[in-house]
Structures are given as structure tokens and as C-alpha cells.
């Protein structure tokens, strides 16, 4: 059995909506090993976004335990969660979420800033990450000067630059046309074949099926 990098044990996440409790996730247990290429699938409102937020340490569960790369995240404060997000998780969002006033290079440098990497290495590492996604010639462009596919590549470079344990992608092709989306998907497959653990959150069946493992979520529970 390979080493577990994401482990959810009986995890629930409840929200209060007025007088009602919404059980976004309800007693979910999953285990994802290092090097896996996993899709978390389900229709909108199923709880898959909640799960992504929990795995990415953007949120904390109401009940249950989450281990990321062997580290129990229960009871960690905001700063400690930020540290895990910075070192262990690389986020890729549907809407790219690049910082509009910064160049591609500065966008990729940002996580290294928070990791306390010295200035010289920062630039080297960021350039390297941008080369990896094939954007060496677009480093000084701002997001509004890039196409959708290019923006998503910058976002992937930014997610990769700190060498995280997990690449966490939320509908990464959702804002792209089919051809560009396909190219981005190929990039994820490549990164996975290099040994990176990739978790893809999607409602798109075809996309999910390209991953090696599928976890289906419906009404806050994992479907068998």
C-alpha cells in the first residue's frame, strides 16, 4: 500500500443557513495515496467544493479528522493552516485567480514570498516553473495580456512552484474551450506521470474519467 497523502476520517462540514443546518459533507472518509490521479466528481451542490476547501485547508471540518501529507490538521490555527496551504497544496482554480496587477512571473513568485525563499532563488524557481508549463516567453506579461489557456498555465506554474505534495484543481478547464481544456488536462496527466499527486474536482464526466480514480459525491456523502 502506497503512502497516504490525503486522509479524511469521518469528516463532516455543517453550515447554518438561518435556522437550518446544511450538511455539506456528512461523515466522509477517503484516502488518497502519493502519486494518485484522482477525480472528485458530483453535481453542483453535492459537496465536492466543500471537500476541496477542506483538503486545501481553506476550511476546517465540523467533525472528523483530516491528515495532509501525514500531518493532522485538527486544531491548527489560521497561520498554521496558511503554512500547509503554502507548502503542501497547490491550488488551480476555474477562474485562474491570478493577481491582475502583477506579471506572470510575479504571480508565480508570490507563494515563494510567503515561504520565505531568498530573492535570487525565488526568481530562478519561478522562471523554472514557467518554463515547465511552456510559458518562458510570457513571463513579463500581465494576466490581461494572456489567453485563457496561458492564464491557466501561469496558475499551474504558481501551484507547482513551491513543489507541493498535492496539486488541487477545481474545474481547471471550466473556463476554457475544449481544445485548450484538453491541453491543460494533458499537462495535468504529464505532471501526474512525473509522480505528482493530482486531485481534480469536476462535474464533467468525461474529464473525470480521464483520471485514474474517481470519487463520486452526492448529497454530502461518498457514493460507493
Amino acid at each position: 500500500m502506497a503512502e497516504s497523502v490525503i486522509r479524511l476520517e469521518d469528516v463532516s462540514r455543517y453550515y447554518m443557513m438561518g435556522d437550518f443546518i446544511v450538511k455539506a459533507l456528512d461523515g466522509v472518509s477517503i484516502d488518497i495515496s502519493r502519486g494518485e490521479f484522482t477525480a472528485i466528481m458530483g453535481p453542483s451542490g453535492s459537496g465536492k467544493s466543500t471537500m476541496m476547501n477542506l483538503i486545501g485547508c481553506l476550511d476546517t471540518p465540523t467533525n472528523g479528522y483530516i491528515d495532509i501529507d501525514g500531518e493532522n490538521t485538527a486544531g491548527l490555527n489560521e497561520a498554521e493552516l496558511a503554512y500547509i496551504r503554502n507548502r503542501k497544496v497547490g491550488f488551480v482554480f476555474q477562474q485562474f485567480n491570478l493577481l491582475g496587477k502583477l506579471t506572470a512571473l510575479d504571480n508565480v513568485i508570490t507563494p515563494l514570498l510567503y515561504a520565505g525563499v531568498p530573492t535570487r532563488e525565488r526568481k530562478q524557481m519561478a522562471v523554472h516553473a514557467l518554463e515547465r508549463v511552456g510559458l518562458a516567453d510570457r513571463m513579463d506579461h500581465r494576466p490581461n495580456e494572456l489567453s485563457g489557456g496561458q492564464k491557466q498555465r501561469v496558475a499551474i506554474a504558481r501551484a507547482l512552484v513551491n513543489n507541493p505534495t498535492i496539486l488541487l484543481a477545481d474545474e481547471p478547464t471550466g473556463a476554457l474551450d475544449t481544445r485548450t481544456g484538453g491541453q491543460i488536462m494533458e499537462l495535468f496527466e504529464e505532471l501526474n506521470s512525473e509522480g505528482r499527486t493530482v486531485v481534480l474536482v469536476t462535474h464533467d464526466r468525461d474529464l473525470g474519467m480521464r483520471c485514474h480514480r474517481q470519487i463520486h459525491i452526492r448529497d454530502g456523502k461518498v457514493e460507493a
Partner: protein
């Protein structure tokens, strides 16, 4: 990290130039008025001191009351007594003065006439445009010689050699005096306008004008290395014992200068305090723009948090932004305040004394304003929920 934060702050300012400029205005005006008020206040008090100092800061004048004229205490020997009894006095010059009309032919002018000893000019470092002061022999022999102030000489003898000419001095009758010297023009001091004075030998004055041996006033020159105010205090105490507080009055430019400095100092501190209130108002402007900035950049904050920025880091970013704003405002304010001070002092013909204390004060205060009013918006930013912030559109 600090450098990146400063860069980010400038990025944000560039992004909304007009808004930044407007909210900076409060700080700029506040700092500029603090700097201008303190600098102008400083310059005013230095200028007043300077004009007092022309009369000589090492001088004290003693004026016996009119009731003391004939008691025999304030005679010529009094000066020697004072010099012997009080430490720190270089010379005591007795002096009698009044006003009289000075005439050359058809030209005449009112002047202050002073009867003084021959050592008067050298003791007070008077400079001569022409000729020299009369001698002790002139005094002993009660000669009718006269030294003219520059304005008097100019009025009576325009464009002429004055030494060797005669002028008439009126009291009860006109007497002719030989001009032996003309003073160099000199800025008027608080106590005496040399330019509009004429000087004759002390004994000549006594004989011609009053015919008593009472002395109208004394000019006391303080010895080097002695503090004028301390010596003047000693004189005050001494005279209080002899003639009582009502028997004389004393005038010391040094104590006047000190008083002037105190008054302008108090006054400008008070004004600066009021100006500081406007800085506070400027600070509220900064708080306002920072709150808007945080609200506008909610999404950015969410992204940064997702990338691993801890609450401290976010708070730092926005604090640095507020600080950068206020420091920039502080620098602009100092420049504007200095220019304003320059304009005002130039207009009033004062010499400019930039108040560096006010620079430090203004910078310190604007930093304080930045931290104080930046804290709340920065805290607000740092506490944003990452998911809500990310989904903010």
C-alpha cells in the same frame, strides 16, 4: 517581504491615483501646516532676537526714576560703585539724553541728543562712516563737538563731507557744534535708533542742557564670559536694596529676547497643536481609503490566503500600504511646509530657520497616524475568511 510590500503599496497607489492623491491631501496639509507654523515661529523668534541683539545682547540699561534724580545716588560715581560691587561688569557708561532740533542753515531735523563719555563708541563698537568719536579732552573741556547719526548727516548735509562742518543745537538757545564724526548706518535696535541720534560730550551736555550732576541713564556693558541675564539679575537685586524697586527701571535686551522667544515658542507650539488636529483628520482619510482598498481587494486577499499568506502577512501588507501612504504624505507635507515658510519669511524679510525638529515631529506623527488608522483596516483584511474572499466578485 517589506520591499515587496512597499512595491505593492505603490502598485495600489498607481492603480487609483486620484483617490490616493485626495486622501493624501489631508496628511499633506496637516504636515505642511505643522512644519510651516513651527518653522515660521522659529524664524520669527530668531528674527526678533536678532533685531534685539543689534543693540547688543551684552548690554543692560538702567534708568533711575525721576524721583531719584536729586538724591545723589545716581551720579557719575555710581557707575564705578556698581562695577566694583557686582561681578561681570566691563563698563558702566553714564548717559543723559533728550530730543532737540539740529540745524544746518535752512535744514533742520529733530534728533535724540545724548551726552556720553568718550569711551561710549569703543565700548559699544560703533563704526564710523567719517571722522571719529570725540576724545576725553573734548569731554573734560566741555567742547562743543558733535557726532551725527547717519540719517541726521544725510538730511542736513546731503552728499557733502560732513566732518568739519558746524550744526546748531537748540535748547533754550542755539549753540554751534563742530562735527567730528558721522556714524555708519546701523539697523535700529529696540532701545535706540543710532541713525537718528547725535552725540555730544557728557560734560558739555551737563553744562548746556541740565546743569546738575544727576545721570539720566546708564548703559552697562557685561564682561565677556558672563551671562547677561544673571548679571542683570544681580544688578536688580543690588538696586532693590539701595533704592527699592520703584527707584529705577532696568532694560536688558537679553531678557527681552528670552521673553520674546518664550512668547513665540508658546504661541507656535499652540498653533502646531491645532495643526496636529488636522493631521488627525487626515488620518481618518487614510483609514477611509484603506477600508475601501481592503473591500475592493477582497478577492486578492482570498487568493493570497490560498497561496499561503498568513493573517500576519496580510495585515503587514496593508499596514505597510497605510504607512507608505502617510509617509509619502509626510514627505510632501514637509516640502510644501518648507516652501510655505520660505515664502512667508521672504515676504516678511525674516531669515529662514527651518525647524528640523518639526520635520522629525511631522514624520513621527504621520507614521503614528499610519499605524493607528491603518491598523483597523489591516486587521479587517487579515481576518477575512479565505473561502468567502476567494468567491467575492
Amino acid at each position: 517581504m517589506l520591499i515587496e510590500n512597499i512595491k505593492l503599496a505603490f502598485n495600489a497607489m498607481r492603480g487609483s491615483k486620484m483617490r490616493t492623491a485626495l486622501s493624501l491631501l489631508g496628511i499633506v496639509i496637516g504636515v505642511a501646516s505643522v512644519v510651516a507654523i513651527l518653522t515660521i515661529g522659529d524664524s520669527a523668534s530668531k528674527s526678533i532676537t536678532e533685531s534685539i541683539a543689534i543693540g547688543g545682547l551684552d548690554m543692560v540699561s538702567i534708568y533711575p526714576s525721576s524721583g531719584q534724580r536729586n538724591t545723589g545716588i545716581f551720579d557719575e560715581a555710581f557707575g564705578d560703585m556698581l562695577r566694583n560691587d557686582i561681578e561681570g561688569i566691563q563698563a558702566v557708561l553714564p548717559q543723559n539724553s533728550s530730543t532737540a532740533r539740529v540745524r544746518n542753515g535752512k535744514e533742520s531735523i529733530n534728533a535724540s541728543v545724548a551726552g556720553v563719555l568718550s569711551t561710549y563708541a569703543s565700548t559699544l563698537n560703533l563704526e564710523f562712516g567719517e571722522g571719529e568719536f570725540f576724545s576725553s579732552m573734548d569731554n573734560i573741556n566741555r567742547r562743543q563737538v558733535i557726532v551725527l547719526g547717519s540719517a541726521i548727516a544725510e538730511e542736513l548735509f546731503p552728499d557733502q563731507v560732513v566732518v568739519g562742518q558746524y550744526v546748531s543745537l537748540f535748547r533754550s538757545q542755539a549753540k554751534s557744534y563742530l562735527v567730528v564724526g558721522v556714524l555708519e548706518s546701523k539697523d535700529p535696535s529696540i532701545s535706540l535708533s543710532y541713525n537718528n541720534s547725535v552725540f555730544i560730550p557728557y560734560n558739555t551736555y551737563s553744562q548746556r542742557f541740565i546743569r546738575t550732576n544727576g545721570v539720566g541713564s546708564y548703559v552697562v556693558k557685561i564682561a565677556e564670559d558672563y551671562d547677561t541675564i544673571e548679571v542683570s539679575d544681580a544688578i536688580t537685586e543690588y538696586l532693590d536694596n539701595i533704592v527699592g524697586t520703584d527707584g529705577y527701571s532696568i532694560f536688558s535686551p537679553a531678557s527681552l529676547a528670552e521673553m520674546a522667544e518664550q512668547i513665540t515658542g508658546t504661541f507656535s507650539s499652540f498653533l502646531a497643536l491645532i495643526a496636529a488636529i488636522s493631521l488627525l483628520v487626515g488620518g481618518i482619510g487614510i483609514m477611509n481609503i484603506m477600508l475601501v482598498s481592503v473591500a475592493e481587494r477582497t478577492k486578492e486577499i482570498g487568493i493570497r490566503k490560498a497561496l499561503g499568506a498568513s493573517p500576519n502577512v496580510i495585515r503587514g501588507q496593508f499596514l505597510v500600504e497605510a504607512l507608505t501612504l502617510t509617509l509619502l504624505g509626510g514627505i510632501l507635507g514637509i516640502v510644501l511646509g518648507s516652501l510655505l515658510s520660505y515664502a512667508v519669511t521672504n515676504m516678511l524679510d525674516w531669515s529662514l530657520h527651518l525647524s528640523y525638529t518639526s520635520f522629525i515631529l511631522a514624520m513621527g506623527f504621520s507614521m503614528f497616524v499610519g499605524i493607528f488608522f491603518g491598523w483597523y483596516p489591516a486587521m479587517k483584511a487579515s481576518r477575512l475568511d479565505p473561502i468567502e474572499a476567494l468567491n467575492y466578485e
